[in-house]
Each structure stands twice: as structure tokens, then as C-alpha cells.
Point group: C2
Chain length 222, copies 2
Amino acid sequence: MTRPADNAEAAGAAEQRREQMLRAALDVIMERGYADTRIADVAEHAGTSPALVIYYFKTRDQLLTEAIGYAEDAWYATGVQRLAAIPAAAGQLTELIAMTCLPDTDPLPRGEWLLWLDLWALSPRNPGVAAVRRKFDERWREAIRTIVLAGQEAGEFSPVDADEFAITLSALLDGMAVQIALDDPDVQPPRAYDLAMRYAAGQLGFDWKPASARDRRSQGRR
Amino acid sequence: MTRPADNAEAAGAAEQRREQMLRAALDVIMERGYADTRIADVAEHAGTSPALVIYYFKTRDQLLTEAIGYAEDAWYATGVQRLAAIPAAAGQLTELIAMTCLPDTDPLPRGEWLLWLDLWALSPRNPGVAAVRRKFDERWREAIRTIVLAGQEAGEFSPVDADEFAITLSALLDGMAVQIALDDPDVQPPRAYDLAMRYAAGQLGFDWKPASARDRRSQGRR
DNA sequence: AAAGTTTGACTGAACATTCAGTCTAGATTG
DNA sequence: CAATCTAGACTGAATGTTCAGTCAAACTTT
């Protein structure tokens, strides 16, 4: 009944195995989609046997759900980290929008977004996934809200309603994410970024000029 | 190889069978989700046997894909019809936004939106579904563009870039649709509607005052 | 018009496959 | 050696699809 690995010392090797499997699961999910992710695929990707996967995650659903949660937590964590390194609220908001619109991870460019699509499609019938999504959404919206309030405090932003702005912007970003995930030729990442930024800058009344095409990739992110 | 029904007279009974099955498929998809829709379920829902379903739609995937296309076409058709009955561009845009934000079909309130989530999640790996989505998206965006251009022609709207507005608004509406589909308590239909309308009115510079709560349901739609 | 013939809609019973999850026996480690 | 871990083979259930026909209606032929 207890999790297989509770070795206290040195973040047990078992814990590493777990994460290895979670990452393997994510790879497969992003490639084949949640519905077509077989335990055998994950096992192979992780260089082990199906039995071991079940040994660590009692059930397939738990493995996949946990994997999605793992991915979202990781995404959020790097987000917080990046934002913390930026002083002005306008810069933070810019980075936040860039994170949703401009892909930067090498493996499977659109992987993260495809994961969101699965996440949404699964949520209505899978309470575990729904919980992950809910938390993810809430945190993200709260992040926007906080930035807006800070920016208003500092006099950078106009006094719009922070809650409503957060909801609207996050909806807009979700919509852009859909287009990016589905590789819509009319809404490529740079354009999605421009449009979202134009909305944010317009609403909050801060200056922002579209970067020229050649600068777009190197906007202070590595 | 030919379609089962080519009886010229009276829209063949076979064609009715087909539609009956498509609708049954939609019911099941909205209830269980695409991935968990068994052809046995569809058959039962349509009062026939699995074999007959396959008889009409060579394969499960074709049935489901066709069902989704069927639904989207129907949705678009009623949309066009409704919009055609409205004179002013501002009214048309309002109706369009209402259609995406405010549910009005009795059966399975959020059904249509849940279908979109499946549509999106399926698109990356299912060319047939991807084609349906692409067409759907394009038509919808084009509808927005046309309304905007007409409104500008008539002097109702500010001269914003119609293409960019269409992309941004449709992304915003997609995002709102996600929240509505997932029944997010912070983004209920009326609020989504208000926020989207505020964006549209703000950008295009037409007057719009939030309807009071009690008026919202009866805004000239039946 | 009666007898045969074709055609398309439909069915029940198999078939074949795919997988999640189990079992057992062996390896590893402390 | 005892506890933990690992893997390959296996099983049982679910389910998409096929198939060999049945049935009724329309059409042809005599």
C-alpha cells in the first residue's frame, strides 16, 4: 500500500526510477497522446519492463495522471524562477506571455502545448486530471494577478481590474496555445506573442513595441 | 464502395439511418468522450447492432470523425442563420460571442464545448479530425473578419486591423470556451460573455453596456 | 401476373487483437 | 539470508471487425 520508495537517505535511487518513468511517460504521451500511451511503451522508453512500471504506479491511469501533474509542476516552477529574476512588472508580464507563446525547449517543440490539449480533454471525466488542471490554472491566473497588482502599485500599469484582466489574459493565452499546439499556419508563435502583448500593453497602458523579427528570439532569455 | 443509400427519392431511408447513427455517436462522445466511445454504445443508442454501424461507416474512426464533422457543420450552419437575421454589425458580433459563451441547447449543456476539447486533443494525430478543425476555425475567423469589415464600412467600428482582431478574438473565445467546458467556477458563461464583449467593444469602439444579471438570458435570442 | 432473380439492409456469431495487470522465479543489496 | 527489486511469460477481459447468411422489396422474365 505504501509507495515503493520511502528510502529516506539521499533521495533514494527508487525516487530516481520514479522520475525516470514519469519522464518516459511524458515523452510517450507527447508523441502518441494520452489515450494511445501503453504501459509497454513507457517501460521500453525507460528501459525496463511493464511489470516494473505497475510496481511503481499501481495503475496505468495513476502513472499518466501523475506524469501530467509532474510536467505541470515543473513548468510552473521554471516559470516562477524566471519571473523572479525580472525586476519590473512589465518585464515579468512580457516573460510570462513569452513563456506561453514562444517555445524554447528543444525536444518536441510543441510537446508542452499538446499536453495541455490532452489535459483539457481528459479533465471532464477524470477527477485526478481535473485537479491538476485546476491547480495549474489557478496558479497561473494568480501569477498574472500578482504581477498586475505589483505593477499598479509601482505606477507602471493602469488601474484596470486585476481579476478580470487575469481571467481575460489567461483565456487569450489558452486560445493562442491551442493554435500554436495545432500548428495553425495563420497563428505562429511570434504572431501569437505580438497579439497577446499588444492586448496586455493596451489594457495596462505600458509601452511596448513589437520586436523586429530578428530580435525576437533573443529577448533576454537563454 | 458506393454509399449504401443512393435512392434518389425522398432523401433515402438509409440516409436517415446514417444521421441517426451520427447523432447517436455524438451523444455518446459528449457523454463518455471520444476515446471511450465504443461502437457497441453507439449501436445501442441508435437501437441497432454494432455490425450495422460498421456496415455504414467502414470503421470506428470514420464514424467518430464524421460525427464530429457533422456536429461542427450543424453548429456553423445555425450560426450563419442567426447572424443573417441581424442587421447591424455590432449586433452580429454580439450574437457571435453569445453563441460561443452562452449555452442554450437543452441536452447536455456543455456538450458542444466538450466536443471541441476532444477535437483539439485529437487533431495532432488524426488527419481527418485535423481537417474538420481547420475548416471550422477558418470559417469562424472569416465570419468575424467579415463582420468587422462590414462594421467599419458602415462606420460602426474603429479601423483596427480586421485580420488581427479576428485572430485575437477567436483565440479569446477559444480560451473562454475551455473554461466554460471545464466548468471553471471563476469563469461562468455570463462572465465569459461580459469579458469577451468588453474586449470587442473596447477594440472596435462601439457602445456596449453589460446587461444586468436578470436581462442576460433574454437578450433577443430564443 | 406468377415465378424467378437481383439488390441492399440488416444480423448473430465468431475471430483476432490488443493490453492492463498478475505470477513466478531470479537478481541485487544491505 | 532476508528484503527489496526486476523481468519475461502469461492471462483474462474488452472490443473492433469480419463473415456467412436472412429477409424484404424491387425488378425481370416468361
